[in-house]
Symmetry: C2
Subunit: 131 residues, 2 copies
């Protein structure tokens, strides 16, 4: 995998953001530093980087995928109203994998805790603002 300017800046900005952005949210941010970048380049790199395990692809919630620059194992909540994702602190340390009694023939790669809820903004009433 070659080091291109686009790839470096995409990774840099994703790691800086703590909002688990969608591809197009990240595109808007990256465009400020690389005004000529294509949305396709953002999608392509997010895919490559997550295949390589350098970032994490999150697929809960809405129709859009979200991305996380923090690959350390941790849990997420996603807002059922607006799709926003946040990290949650949990009493981990006890391995989630160890909780499996019968994997039904699957070779398990990893496990995580996942929560659904309503985010602070949506609790304040304005549940219409899809963010």
């Amino acid at each position: 995998m070659r080091i291109t300017n686009q790839r470096e800046i995409i990774l840099e900005e994703l790691r800086r953001l703590k909002t688990h952005p969608t591809a197009d949210e990240l595109y808007e941010v990256v465009k400020k530093r690389l005004p000529r970048i294509s949305i396709a380049t953002v999608y392509r790199n997010l895919e490559r980087l997550s295949e390589a395990g350098i970032i994490h692809k999150l697929e809960y919630g809405g129709r859009q995928k979200r991305f996380d620059g923090d690959v350390r194992p941790h849990s997420h909540v996603f807002c059922v109203r607006c799709g926003r994702i946040s990290d949650v602190d949990t009493v981990e340390g006890l391995s989630v994998r160890a909780m499996v009694l019968d994997p039904k023939g699957f070779e398990i790669i990893e496990g995580s805790l996942q929560f659904e809820g309503i985010c602070p903004e949506c609790q304040k009433g304005n549940s219409l603002t899809t963010n």
Copy 2:
């Protein structure tokens, strides 16, 4: 919510299947009993039924959503190769919600354990068959 023939049969077939089908997989099954049903009706009802909490919408893995007629809390594995989802038996009983230390302002509705892995079929080599 009115009881229609289509709605009843969609629910019946979803509850019968243990495969966590996608909307179009369920459409194919339901079509055998209701040959004139529309794919839009299947989508519409799956949405209504999951809003009402009668079924569960699963949004991990691939691009297609999957549905589960079993709403009792339980964990899933999804196959990173083919997207197939299976139930997993875990040492639950200890509430997943109780493991949250800091919910970051979210009002948490529910939590679950989630696993990624490779299903028995994909382990047998033929990882091309997207199922």
